[in-house]
């Protein structure tokens, strides 16, 4: 009997290495919800990259806005794009009004349902959502199924939303991809991970496995580690969105970001100051770690 070395593995990557795994034309799902726990460090890195013609699936916030403003989107699959406190996302609006990309407009629950179908490797899931609306006049939602039971009800077939890659931002992870999302609402990040071929996450902090304290934190363990392909440490990686309880939404920066849609020059200035220089420069430009850590809680 030959002895084998105990196999070890380490999923740690840099943010740049995660972005280098992405390809033009991919379908990418982005976790979080509007202004909460968006993987913004990854979004800014994509904005700096030459990537193009992406299909984006998102409960949209500034992630969609930045990718729209930098011309990365070929098609957007969404139910809304909003900055919550600024309900209308200005960069998304400009791009939509210019017809800059194709769209599939869904209901929030339909996004869930499409991801669920993909996660279950089903071609579709039946639903009533969309009946009577203009959503179902879009070709992708044009198929109907009839209940095979006595009720004979006609239902919408929500096609599976299969993702090439899901991008998430989490609070803690070990090097094997055991992750914790400590925020009070996990949103649909689990389904994004399950519907994707590969999932990459950024974490506020990489910690030894014992520090995850999984028995106490089991409910924050979003998915099993087998679903996480790579993990990068990115402190304040959700900023300007929130990653409560670690830090809150930066309303002041959100205003700066919103104002950047006023003109092409304003956007160029924002991009130069907050995106082009990389994350170290970004953190400094938004006031530094202590400022972010001290942000007050926002009211929704």
């Amino acid at each position: 009997m030959t002895s084998e070395t105990k196999p070890t593995f380490d999923k740690r990557l840099s943010v740049e290495e995660i972005v280098s795994e992405l390809r033009d034309g991919m379908t990418i799902g982005i976790g979080g919800w509007a202004t909460r726990r968006k993987p913004m460090t990854l979004i800014r890195a994509i904005a700096r990259s030459p990537l193009k013609e992406l299909t984006i699936v998102s409960y949209g916030g500034p992630d969609v806005g930045i990718l729209a403003a930098t011309g990365k989107i070929k098609k957007l699959i969404f139910a809304f794009v909003s900055l919550d406190h600024y309900p209308l996302e200005p960069h998304f609006r400009s791009a939509r009004q210019a017809g800059a990309f194709e769209i599939l407009e869904l209901d929030e629950g339909l996004v869930h349902w499409g991801l669920r179908a993909a996660a279950m490797r089903l071609p579709f899931l039946p639903t009533r959502i969309g009946l009577g609306t203009d959503l179902v006049r879009q070709p992708e939602l044009g198929k109907r199924v009839t209940s095979p039971f006595e009720d004979g009800e006609e239902l919408i077939a929500m096609p599976a939303l299969k993702l090439d890659v899901a991008l998430l931002h989490v609070h803690r992870s070990d090097l094997r991809g055991n992750i914790l999302t400590l925020s009070p609402d996990p949103f649909f990040d689990e389904l994004f991970a399950r519907s994707a071929e590969r999932t990459f996450a950024t974490a506020e902090k990489l910690v030894p496995t014992a520090e995850l304290a999984i028995p106490e934190n089991a409910r924050f363990n979003l998915v099993e580690r087998a679903l996480i392909t790579g993990i990068a440490e990115a402190p304040y990686g959700a900023h300007p969105t929130s990653a409560a309880p670690d830090y809150q939404l930066d309303l002041k920066h959100l205003k700066t970001y919103t104002d950047s849609a006023a003109s092409p020059e304003a956007w160029a200035a924002y991009k130069a100051r907050f995106i082009d220089g990389g994350e170290t420069a970004y953190l400094e430009a938004v006031g530094g770690a202590d400022t972010i850590a001290a942000l007050p809680k926002s009211i929704y």
């Binding site: 139910a79 909003s82 209308l88 609006r93 929030e108 203009d134 996990p186 949103f187 929704y300």
Partner: protein, 263 residues
Amino acid sequence: MMETNYSLAELLIVAAAEAWRRDGEVMGTGIGPLPRIAVSLAKATFNPRLATTDGECWYTTAPLPPGEDAMKESEIEGWSPYDRVFSGLWGGKRHAMVAPTQFDRFGQSNISVIGNHAKPKSALLGARGFPGNSVHHPNSFFFASHNTRSFVSGEVDFVCTAGYNPERYSNGKPPALLDLRIIVSDLAVLDFSGKGRAIRVVSLHPGITFEQVQDNTGFPLERPEQIPVTPAPTAEQLTLIRNLDPNNVRKAVIKGDPAGDRR
């Protein structure tokens, strides 16, 4: 005893609260400041079983005032992440009052785009949860400004909520669970109890005539023989509203914060 010194916003809050009177123990959602204060008033008076949230992911024991510092003293009584909101609403245990940009004679509403969907004149929010809400639980509607831009003559530009338009259904019948309740605007309270689910005026706000409502609506309204005046807030209701909205957010909703009685 009726209080005569009340604002239009306060009148609308009291009228809107009626939406939840007979709902029992469901999630009560009011989108926008006045519907939110209205659901709070319903909970504080005739339907204490209503469950209301902080707008994020917590149910609070007492309804939460709109505005800053609202969470300071509120007791959290339950958890309401979006996954549970969807599960609950698909089960029908919710009644939402929402404030769409456009509305039509069928009760179809729009918060997605003005103009063409592929290249809109104005891109708004997107359909959000409107399509699913509309076919799973009761819905009511709120308009701070009743005019022909909001109450449109044809169909809305992008139908986000199912309505009573037979042409939109393969069998000509709206879904069984479609349940559109009341419409509260700055001019009147309306509902869908007209012939063939036509929109009918239920009550006129003090000093408003049927003709004014009709002139500001892009489609014909059903006119009952007798139209009552929308009840004024009672002194008790006004006191409660002041407690439920200590930041006086309601004052800023309607331009000039006009009086509720326009006679």
